[in-house]
Protein backbone atom coordinates (compact mmCIF):
# COMPACT_ATOMS: atom_id res chain seq x y z
CA UNK A 1 0.00 0.00 0.00
CA UNK A 2 1.42 3.40 -0.83
CA UNK A 3 0.19 6.91 -0.33
CA UNK A 4 1.38 10.39 -1.18
CA UNK A 5 -0.32 11.94 1.80
CA UNK A 6 1.94 13.53 4.38
CA UNK A 7 1.77 11.76 7.74
CA UNK A 8 0.23 13.49 10.72
CA UNK A 9 2.35 15.80 12.83
CA UNK A 10 4.20 14.67 15.90
CA UNK A 11 3.36 16.08 19.30
CA UNK A 12 6.10 18.19 20.88
CA UNK A 13 6.74 15.58 23.57
CA UNK A 14 6.96 11.82 23.35
CA UNK A 15 6.73 10.14 26.74
CA UNK A 16 8.91 7.04 26.91
CA UNK A 17 7.28 3.92 28.30
CA UNK A 18 8.00 0.21 28.34
CA UNK A 19 4.32 -0.41 27.70
CA UNK A 20 3.87 -2.55 30.78
CA UNK A 21 1.97 0.13 32.66
CA UNK A 22 -0.48 2.72 31.40
CA UNK A 23 1.05 6.11 30.69
CA UNK A 24 -1.15 9.09 29.86
CA UNK A 25 -0.13 12.44 28.48
CA UNK A 26 -0.53 15.11 31.20
CA UNK A 27 -3.44 17.47 30.52
CA UNK A 28 -2.43 20.52 28.55
CA UNK A 29 0.82 19.06 27.26
CA UNK A 30 1.15 18.37 23.55
CA UNK A 31 2.30 14.81 24.08
CA UNK A 32 1.98 11.18 23.05
CA UNK A 33 3.48 7.91 24.21
CA UNK A 34 6.54 6.20 22.72
CA UNK A 35 6.85 2.54 23.61
CA UNK A 36 10.42 1.21 23.70
CA UNK A 37 12.52 -1.45 25.45
CA UNK A 38 9.61 -3.83 25.76
CA UNK A 39 8.37 -7.10 24.32
CA UNK A 40 5.83 -7.97 21.70
CA UNK A 41 3.09 -9.03 24.13
CA UNK A 42 3.35 -5.80 26.11
CA UNK A 43 3.27 -3.73 22.94
CA UNK A 44 0.16 -5.48 21.65
CA UNK A 45 -1.53 -5.19 25.05
CA UNK A 46 -0.78 -1.48 25.28
CA UNK A 47 -1.95 -0.83 21.71
CA UNK A 48 -5.35 -2.28 22.63
CA UNK A 49 -5.64 -0.25 25.84
CA UNK A 50 -7.14 3.17 26.46
CA UNK A 51 -3.68 4.74 26.17
CA UNK A 52 -2.27 3.31 22.95
CA UNK A 53 1.21 4.37 21.87
CA UNK A 54 1.61 6.98 19.20
CA UNK A 55 5.12 5.75 18.37
CA UNK A 56 7.25 2.64 18.78
CA UNK A 57 11.00 2.05 18.71
CA UNK A 58 10.81 -1.00 16.48
CA UNK A 59 14.31 -2.36 17.08
CA UNK A 60 13.88 -2.39 20.85
CA UNK A 61 10.83 -4.66 20.99
CA UNK A 62 11.84 -8.20 21.95
CA UNK A 63 10.14 -10.79 19.82
CA UNK A 64 9.35 -8.37 17.02
CA UNK A 65 11.34 -8.67 13.81
CA UNK A 66 13.01 -5.76 12.11
CA UNK A 67 11.47 -6.39 8.73
CA UNK A 68 8.60 -5.47 6.43
CA UNK A 69 6.14 -7.78 8.19
CA UNK A 70 6.84 -6.07 11.50
CA UNK A 71 6.30 -2.65 9.96
CA UNK A 72 3.03 -3.75 8.43
CA UNK A 73 1.93 -5.19 11.78
CA UNK A 74 2.66 -2.14 13.94
CA UNK A 75 1.33 0.40 11.46
CA UNK A 76 -1.63 -1.74 10.31
CA UNK A 77 -2.88 -4.07 13.05
CA UNK A 78 -1.69 -1.89 15.93
CA UNK A 79 -2.35 1.46 14.25
CA UNK A 80 0.86 3.08 15.49
CA UNK A 81 1.52 6.29 13.58
CA UNK A 82 5.27 6.74 14.00
CA UNK A 83 7.99 4.10 13.86
CA UNK A 84 11.58 4.62 14.98
CA UNK A 85 14.15 2.28 13.45
CA UNK A 86 17.84 2.00 12.64
CA UNK A 87 17.00 0.60 9.23
CA UNK A 88 16.38 3.22 6.53
CA UNK A 89 14.52 0.79 4.28
CA UNK A 90 12.01 0.05 7.02
CA UNK A 91 11.45 3.76 7.64
CA UNK A 92 10.77 4.09 3.93
CA UNK A 93 8.19 1.32 4.13
CA UNK A 94 6.52 3.07 7.08
CA UNK A 95 6.30 6.24 5.01
CA UNK A 96 4.95 4.36 2.02
CA UNK A 97 2.12 3.15 4.24
CA UNK A 98 1.22 6.74 5.05
CA UNK A 99 2.81 6.80 8.48
CA UNK A 100 5.89 8.55 9.82
CA UNK A 101 9.21 6.73 9.61
CA UNK A 102 12.02 7.97 11.81
CA UNK A 103 15.61 6.85 11.22
CA UNK A 104 18.05 6.77 14.14
CA UNK A 105 20.96 9.15 13.62
CA UNK A 106 23.73 8.85 16.16
CA UNK A 107 25.40 12.09 17.13
CA UNK A 108 28.54 10.89 18.87
CA UNK A 109 30.89 13.04 16.84
CA UNK A 110 30.63 15.15 13.72
CA UNK A 111 32.28 12.64 11.40
CA UNK A 112 30.17 9.78 12.67
CA UNK A 113 26.98 11.77 12.33
CA UNK A 114 27.72 12.53 8.68
CA UNK A 115 28.28 8.83 8.05
CA UNK A 116 25.12 7.98 9.94
CA UNK A 117 23.17 10.30 7.64
CA UNK A 118 24.59 8.88 4.44
CA UNK A 119 22.02 6.10 4.35
CA UNK A 120 19.03 8.28 5.24
CA UNK A 121 16.39 7.99 2.50
CA UNK A 122 15.63 11.74 2.62
CA UNK A 123 12.05 11.35 1.41
CA UNK A 124 8.80 12.88 2.58
CA UNK A 125 7.44 11.12 5.61
CA UNK A 126 10.86 10.08 6.89
CA UNK A 127 12.42 12.08 9.68
CA UNK A 128 15.32 11.65 12.07
CA UNK A 129 15.80 10.49 15.63
CA UNK A 130 18.89 12.23 16.97
CA UNK A 131 20.60 10.47 19.87
CA UNK A 132 21.62 11.54 22.41
CA UNK A 133 19.16 14.42 22.45
CA UNK A 134 21.40 16.94 24.17
CA UNK A 135 23.83 17.03 21.29
CA UNK A 136 21.29 18.99 19.25
CA UNK A 137 22.11 22.19 21.12
CA UNK A 138 25.76 21.81 20.10
CA UNK A 139 25.20 21.31 16.37
CA UNK A 140 26.21 23.98 13.88
CA UNK A 141 23.35 25.45 11.89
CA UNK A 142 24.44 23.58 8.75
CA UNK A 143 24.50 20.28 10.66
CA UNK A 144 21.04 20.91 12.04
CA UNK A 145 19.76 21.86 8.60
CA UNK A 146 21.15 18.61 7.19
CA UNK A 147 18.98 16.48 9.48
CA UNK A 148 15.78 15.46 7.67
CA UNK A 149 12.72 16.67 9.59
CA UNK A 150 10.84 16.03 11.66
CA UNK A 151 13.65 15.69 14.15
CA UNK A 152 13.05 13.76 17.36
CA UNK A 153 15.65 14.44 20.07
CA UNK A 154 15.99 11.23 22.05
CA UNK A 155 18.09 10.22 25.01
CA UNK A 156 19.60 11.66 28.23
CA UNK A 157 17.15 14.51 28.75
CA UNK A 158 17.06 14.54 32.51
CA UNK A 159 15.69 17.91 33.53
CA UNK A 160 13.22 20.49 32.34
CA UNK A 161 15.94 22.93 31.33
CA UNK A 162 17.52 20.41 28.98
CA UNK A 163 14.05 19.51 27.68
CA UNK A 164 13.27 23.12 26.88
CA UNK A 165 16.62 23.61 25.15
CA UNK A 166 16.03 20.57 22.96
CA UNK A 167 12.42 21.55 22.23
CA UNK A 168 13.63 24.84 20.81
CA UNK A 169 15.50 23.03 18.04
CA UNK A 170 13.78 19.68 17.57
CA UNK A 171 10.25 18.96 16.40
CA UNK A 172 9.74 16.54 19.27
CA UNK A 173 11.64 15.32 22.30
CA UNK A 174 11.54 12.04 24.18
CA UNK A 175 11.34 12.27 27.96
CA UNK A 176 10.48 10.10 30.93
CA UNK A 177 7.00 10.51 32.46
CA UNK A 178 8.42 12.49 35.40
CA UNK A 179 9.92 15.11 33.10
CA UNK A 180 6.70 15.27 31.08
CA UNK A 181 4.78 15.93 34.29
CA UNK A 182 7.17 18.75 35.19
CA UNK A 183 6.82 20.27 31.73
CA UNK A 184 3.04 20.14 32.06
CA UNK A 185 3.15 21.71 35.52
CA UNK A 186 5.42 24.46 34.26
CA UNK A 187 3.07 25.08 31.35
CA UNK A 188 0.05 25.20 33.63
CA UNK A 189 1.79 27.63 35.98
CA UNK A 190 2.61 29.92 33.09
CA UNK A 191 -1.08 30.08 32.16
CA UNK A 192 -2.22 31.16 35.62
CA UNK A 193 -3.12 34.88 35.47
CA UNK A 194 -1.21 37.27 37.69
Amino acid sequence: MTTDAAPGRLPAVLIASDGRHPVYAPPGLDAGVLVRDTDLAALVHRAASDCPPLAVDLDSVAGLGSDDAAVDFVTGRLGIRAVLTRRPQLAARVAARGHLGLVHVFGYDSTGMVRSLESHPRKMGIGSVLSPALVIVHLRSDELADLPRPIVAYGLIDDVGDARACMALADAIVVRPAIAAKLAAELEASLVPG
Partner: protein, 196 residues
Protein backbone atom coordinates in the same frame (compact mmCIF):
# COMPACT_ATOMS: atom_id res chain seq x y z
CA UNK B 1 65.04 -1.48 17.15
CA UNK B 2 61.92 -2.27 19.12
CA UNK B 3 59.88 0.50 20.67
CA UNK B 4 58.59 0.46 24.23
CA UNK B 5 55.51 2.59 24.78
CA UNK B 6 55.10 4.57 27.99
CA UNK B 7 53.12 2.84 30.69
CA UNK B 8 49.54 3.93 31.28
CA UNK B 9 50.50 6.15 34.17
CA UNK B 10 52.96 8.07 32.01
CA UNK B 11 50.43 8.29 29.16
CA UNK B 12 47.83 9.70 31.53
CA UNK B 13 50.31 12.19 32.96
CA UNK B 14 51.14 13.38 29.46
CA UNK B 15 47.48 14.08 28.70
CA UNK B 16 46.93 15.70 32.08
CA UNK B 17 49.73 18.14 31.33
CA UNK B 18 48.42 18.98 27.84
CA UNK B 19 44.74 18.07 27.79
CA UNK B 20 43.70 18.87 24.21
CA UNK B 21 44.56 15.92 21.99
CA UNK B 22 44.34 15.85 18.19
CA UNK B 23 41.79 13.50 16.62
CA UNK B 24 42.65 12.69 13.03
CA UNK B 25 39.71 11.76 10.85
CA UNK B 26 41.47 12.25 7.51
CA UNK B 27 45.02 11.56 6.34
CA UNK B 28 45.51 15.17 5.26
CA UNK B 29 45.13 16.37 8.85
CA UNK B 30 48.17 14.48 10.07
CA UNK B 31 50.67 17.18 9.11
CA UNK B 32 48.76 19.80 11.07
CA UNK B 33 48.57 17.52 14.09
CA UNK B 34 52.30 16.87 13.97
CA UNK B 35 53.19 20.57 14.05
CA UNK B 36 50.54 21.37 16.67
CA UNK B 37 51.05 21.48 20.43
CA UNK B 38 48.75 18.49 20.95
CA UNK B 39 50.51 15.90 23.12
CA UNK B 40 48.77 12.86 21.65
CA UNK B 41 47.46 12.15 18.15
CA UNK B 42 44.40 9.92 17.98
CA UNK B 43 44.13 8.18 14.60
CA UNK B 44 40.45 7.49 13.96
CA UNK B 45 40.54 6.73 10.24
CA UNK B 46 43.01 5.55 7.63
CA UNK B 47 44.75 2.29 6.90
CA UNK B 48 45.61 0.32 10.00
CA UNK B 49 47.86 -1.93 7.95
CA UNK B 50 50.09 0.99 6.98
CA UNK B 51 50.04 2.92 10.21
CA UNK B 52 53.68 2.36 11.21
CA UNK B 53 54.99 5.14 8.96
CA UNK B 54 52.59 7.70 10.46
CA UNK B 55 53.44 6.48 13.96
CA UNK B 56 57.14 7.13 13.34
CA UNK B 57 56.42 10.65 12.08
CA UNK B 58 54.32 11.39 15.16
CA UNK B 59 56.96 9.99 17.52
CA UNK B 60 59.66 11.98 15.76
CA UNK B 61 57.62 15.09 16.66
CA UNK B 62 57.73 14.08 20.33
CA UNK B 63 54.07 13.04 20.52
CA UNK B 64 52.29 9.87 21.47
CA UNK B 65 49.91 7.90 19.23
CA UNK B 66 46.57 6.26 19.93
CA UNK B 67 44.78 4.24 17.25
CA UNK B 68 41.07 3.36 17.19
CA UNK B 69 41.19 -0.30 16.20
CA UNK B 70 37.44 -0.43 15.45
CA UNK B 71 37.55 2.45 12.98
CA UNK B 72 40.78 2.20 10.99
CA UNK B 73 40.63 0.22 7.79
CA UNK B 74 42.23 -3.15 7.18
CA UNK B 75 42.00 -4.44 10.73
CA UNK B 76 39.49 -6.57 12.57
CA UNK B 77 39.07 -5.60 16.20
CA UNK B 78 40.67 -8.63 17.86
CA UNK B 79 43.80 -9.69 19.71
CA UNK B 80 45.82 -10.16 16.53
CA UNK B 81 45.17 -6.62 15.34
CA UNK B 82 46.10 -5.33 18.79
CA UNK B 83 49.41 -7.19 18.50
CA UNK B 84 49.88 -5.70 15.05
CA UNK B 85 49.40 -2.19 16.39
CA UNK B 86 51.87 -2.88 19.19
CA UNK B 87 54.47 -3.94 16.64
CA UNK B 88 53.71 -0.76 14.70
CA UNK B 89 54.80 1.30 17.71
CA UNK B 90 51.39 2.52 18.82
CA UNK B 91 51.22 3.82 22.40
CA UNK B 92 47.49 3.36 23.08
CA UNK B 93 44.59 1.54 21.46
CA UNK B 94 40.97 2.66 21.59
CA UNK B 95 38.05 0.29 21.19
CA UNK B 96 34.41 -0.05 22.12
CA UNK B 97 35.09 -3.76 22.74
CA UNK B 98 35.74 -4.21 26.43
CA UNK B 99 37.17 -7.68 25.91
CA UNK B 100 40.15 -6.15 24.08
CA UNK B 101 41.31 -4.08 27.03
CA UNK B 102 43.32 -6.90 28.61
CA UNK B 103 44.97 -7.70 25.28
CA UNK B 104 45.95 -4.06 24.84
CA UNK B 105 47.47 -3.91 28.29
CA UNK B 106 49.18 -7.25 27.74
CA UNK B 107 50.96 -5.73 24.75
CA UNK B 108 52.24 -2.92 26.97
CA UNK B 109 49.98 -0.24 25.51
CA UNK B 110 47.44 2.01 27.21
CA UNK B 111 43.91 0.63 26.93
CA UNK B 112 41.17 3.15 26.14
CA UNK B 113 37.53 2.03 26.23
CA UNK B 114 35.17 4.14 24.14
CA UNK B 115 31.81 4.66 25.77
CA UNK B 116 28.91 5.95 23.68
CA UNK B 117 26.27 7.87 25.58
CA UNK B 118 22.84 7.19 24.13
CA UNK B 119 20.17 6.75 26.74
CA UNK B 120 19.86 6.84 30.48
CA UNK B 121 18.67 3.25 30.61
CA UNK B 122 21.98 2.11 29.13
CA UNK B 123 24.31 4.00 31.48
CA UNK B 124 24.44 1.35 34.18
CA UNK B 125 25.32 -1.31 31.62
CA UNK B 126 28.00 0.90 30.12
CA UNK B 127 29.61 1.62 33.45
CA UNK B 128 29.44 -2.06 34.38
CA UNK B 129 31.46 -2.72 31.24
CA UNK B 130 34.16 -0.43 32.60
CA UNK B 131 34.32 -2.51 35.76
CA UNK B 132 34.58 -5.76 33.83
CA UNK B 133 37.16 -4.68 31.27
CA UNK B 134 39.31 -2.46 33.51
CA UNK B 135 40.58 0.01 30.90
CA UNK B 136 43.28 2.55 31.73
CA UNK B 137 41.15 5.39 30.32
CA UNK B 138 37.53 5.79 29.24
CA UNK B 139 36.72 8.01 26.27
CA UNK B 140 33.15 9.31 26.48
CA UNK B 141 31.26 10.41 23.37
CA UNK B 142 29.72 12.86 22.69
CA UNK B 143 32.09 14.59 25.06
CA UNK B 144 30.44 17.96 24.64
CA UNK B 145 27.50 16.80 26.78
CA UNK B 146 29.69 15.39 29.54
CA UNK B 147 29.03 18.37 31.83
CA UNK B 148 25.28 17.77 31.51
CA UNK B 149 25.34 14.03 32.10
CA UNK B 150 28.23 13.47 34.50
CA UNK B 151 25.77 13.44 37.38
CA UNK B 152 23.80 10.62 35.75
CA UNK B 153 26.79 8.31 35.45
CA UNK B 154 27.35 5.78 38.20
CA UNK B 155 30.73 6.45 39.81
CA UNK B 156 33.82 4.80 38.38
CA UNK B 157 37.49 5.32 39.11
CA UNK B 158 39.02 5.61 35.65
CA UNK B 159 40.30 8.80 33.98
CA UNK B 160 37.95 10.18 31.32
CA UNK B 161 38.60 11.69 27.92
CA UNK B 162 35.78 13.69 26.35
CA UNK B 163 35.47 13.41 22.57
CA UNK B 164 32.85 14.44 20.03
CA UNK B 165 31.51 17.91 19.13
CA UNK B 166 34.11 19.59 21.38
CA UNK B 167 34.73 22.66 19.24
CA UNK B 168 35.32 25.70 21.39
CA UNK B 169 37.50 26.75 24.27
CA UNK B 170 34.33 26.98 26.34
CA UNK B 171 33.53 23.34 25.50
CA UNK B 172 37.04 22.35 26.60
CA UNK B 173 36.75 24.29 29.84
CA UNK B 174 33.37 22.79 30.63
CA UNK B 175 34.57 19.24 30.01
CA UNK B 176 37.69 19.70 32.14
CA UNK B 177 35.64 21.33 34.90
CA UNK B 178 33.31 18.32 34.80
CA UNK B 179 36.28 16.13 35.64
CA UNK B 180 37.68 15.05 32.29
CA UNK B 181 41.39 14.27 32.15
CA UNK B 182 41.52 15.64 28.63
CA UNK B 183 39.62 16.00 25.40
CA UNK B 184 39.99 14.64 21.88
CA UNK B 185 38.96 16.93 19.07
CA UNK B 186 39.28 17.29 15.32
CA UNK B 187 39.08 21.08 15.69
CA UNK B 188 42.62 22.09 14.86
CA UNK B 189 42.33 25.43 16.65
CA UNK B 190 42.06 23.53 19.91
CA UNK B 191 45.01 21.19 19.46
CA UNK B 192 47.30 21.91 22.36
CA UNK B 193 44.95 24.49 23.86
CA UNK B 194 45.08 24.68 27.62
CA UNK B 195 48.47 23.02 27.99
CA UNK B 196 50.13 23.62 31.29
Amino acid sequence: MSYTPPDAEAFIARVAADPCCAAITAEENLGAAIVSRAPVVFILRGNGLAVAHDVRRIHDAGKLVAVHVDLVGGLRADRSSVAWLAKSGVDAVISSHGQLMSAIRHEGMTAILRLLLVRRSQLDTAVAAIGRSAPDIVEILPGVILPSVIGLLPPFDVPVLAGGFVRTQADVGAALSAGALGITTSSQALWGFGDN
